[in-house]
């Protein structure tokens, strides 16, 4: 469904991605793990067209995204829950969700999806008319995921959804990600530093160091890998 092949990306002279190749098949949950500054966020931003690769190709269902505008990438079926959630602080929860469905014209289906996200995260329906900036961190993450779901994406990109959240909330959010994947067949590309949680929910994983992919395998295999264990699982 999504294929990055030998992608290189730079910030000025700093090379953030070095020959990155990642393949995501339809229906899969894959995770990309790595330390701070490894290049995980840059990888997702290049899929969304915010960072442009200097070389290499980003293919989404036979379409090269290298020069497609970010709004057209969303229209193609890719939604992005960015690092730090980026809720619009002065817009209400409802308005944040409305913007998630910005490109959609099928009003009835949008209403169904709104009910669906309120079912996934009932707290959001209670907070509906409150400014996004007044939500707690966990609620903001729920809103960020819901906002992305309002676009009815086929591929969902998530950048460190566990960041700064209590273990119980992280648990809940990861369960819901698994549920979204099973119920709607949404393909998920999950970036995480919480390698254990990520590998447990994902089918396959990639390990990134200093802008390069250094390891990739099934999650169950990576969970047992000595290198991964010592570097990312803290055992």
């Amino acid at each position: 469904m999504l294929e990055l092949s030998a992608v290189n990306a730079f910030y000025g002279r700093i090379q953030a991605l070095k020959d990155v190749s990642i393949r995501v098949s339809a229906g899969e949950i894959i995770t990309l793990i790595g330390a701070n500054g490894a290049g995980k966020t840059t990888t997702l931003m290049s899929v969304s067209g915010i960072v442009r690769p200097a070389s290499g190709a980003i293919m989404f269902e036979d379409r090269n995204l290298n020069e497609v505008e970010p709004d057209q990438i969303v229209a193609a079926g890719i939604s992005h829950v960015p690092e730090g959630r980026r809720i619009f602080p002065y817009l209400t929860v409802q308005e944040n969700l409305d913007l998630g469905a910005y490109l959609r014209r099928d009003r009835a289906a949008v209403r169904t999806d709104l009910d669906y996200v309120f079912e996934l995260f009932p707290i959001l329906s209670q907070r509906r008319h409150q400014p996004g900036g007044t939500l707690s961190g966990g609620e903001q993450q729920m809103l960020a995921i819901s906002r992305a779901l309002m676009a009815r994406p086929r591929l969902l990109l998530l950048d460190e959804p566990s960041l700064g959240l209590a273990p119980l909330i992280v648990q809940q959010i990861f369960e819901i990600l698994g549920q979204i994947n099973r119920e709607n067949g949404t393909t998920i590309f999950l970036v995480e530093q919480n390698a254990y949680m990520a590998l447990r929910v994902a089918h396959r994983g990639y390990v990134m160091e200093n802008g390069s992919i250094v390891l990739t395998d099934d999650s169950t295999v990576l969970l047992e890998n000595e290198q991964v264990k010592s570097a990312y699982l803290g055992v």
């Binding site: 709004d71 960015p82 980026r86 619009f88 602080p89 002065y90 913007l99 998630g100 910005y102």
Partner: protein, 300 residues
């Protein structure tokens, strides 16, 4: 009492015109954090467009109201095209450079447009026709409200209400607010931010042009320089209200309008232009974020 009411009405008229102009400053600042110094010139170009049209249409023999409506609409559209083009050629190319580049580009645009109109038209004052018809019912009031003052106030109010509804409830309004809070996030949701920015210039330019047409038919004369002072005053009004805030721009405009007319009426009209700058200095010292502005660190 009638003296007071007269000053009140004239402050309201000034405030209305400032508000039509201040909207453009505040909306553009809200979205790209640029003080568009050429905004006053758009107002001036609106007035010139209306003058040319009014001359042609009155030769064609149309009645005053039709001339007013057609001239205003065409001036708004024409100025909107100027605003749109200005953004594309002067601001978009420097959007990702340092802020100073955009500021210099804005000042350059302002000087260019002034001198362009000076050369293409004239540097003298031109008489501007009274396009606003006499409204009989105003004669029955005990204090003086001219038809022009009345029309200016009503038009401004209507424009403000429409704009507020647009920004608060429409899809495009939500995308404008989203882009002003976090452009990258707006893009990640499918908002075409370039288009939103262009639209902001179009709306701001159209309301500025309307202000230019209305005030010119009140004062009865225009030249290439009228946008300069009006632009600075409206900018002060926008800062006073809290730059980036639309209700703030409206409030700041009326406060400035009243300060000027009461100051001129009760203190001295020699100092008319001084009040605006005194207000600017005071606000920058005591409340830099303005009356209704958000604190500076609005980005999360």
């Amino acid at each position: 009492m009638n003296y007071f009411l007269g000053l009140f009405v004239s402050g309201l008229t000034r405030g209305s015109i400032y508000a039509l102009l201040a909207l453009g400053y505040t909306m553009v600042y809200g979205i790209i954090e640029l003080i568009n110094f050429a905004h006053g010139e758009i107002y001036m170009i609106g007035a010139f467009t209306a003058l040319i049209l009014a001359s042609v249409l009155s030769i064609a023999g149309l009645d005053a109201i039709s001339i007013l409506v057609i001239a205003s609409l065409v001036a708004m559209i024409y100025s909107a095209a100027y605003g749109f083009t200005m953004e594309k050629i002067a601001y978009k190319p420097v959007r990702n450079s340092q802020r100073l580049s955009a500021l210099i580009s804005a000042i350059g645009m302002s000087l260019f447009l002034q001198n362009y109109v000076r050369l293409a038209q004239t540097s003298n004052f031109l008489p501007f026709p009274t396009l606003i018809p006499r409204l009989g019912f105003l004669q029955q009031l005990t204090f003086q409200v001219t038809s022009a003052q009345f029309v200016i106030f009503v038009t401004t109010t209507v424009v403000m209400i429409l704009l507020t509804l647009l920004i608060k409830f429409s899809r495009v309004g939500k995308s404008m607010r989203a882009a002003s809070q976090d452009k990258t996030m707006a893009m990640l949701l499918g908002v075409n931010v370039n288009r939103v920015i262009a639209l902001t210039f179009v709306i701001g330019s159209a309301t500025a042009a309307l202000g230019g047409v209305l005030i010119s038919s009140f004062t009865g004369q225009i030249n290439f320089y009228i946008g300069f002072m009006a632009g600075i005053k409206a900018f002060v009004a926008a800062v006073l209200g809290g730059i980036g805030s639309i209700p703030g721009a409206v409030l700041g405009s009326f406060v400035l309008g009243w300060t000027e007319s009461f100051g001129a009426g009760y203190i001295s009209s020699d100092y008319e232009d001084v009040f605006a700058f005194a207000i600017l200095v005071l606000i920058l010292i005591f409340k830099p974020s303005g009356l209704l502005g958000r604190p500076e660190n609005k980005k999360v």
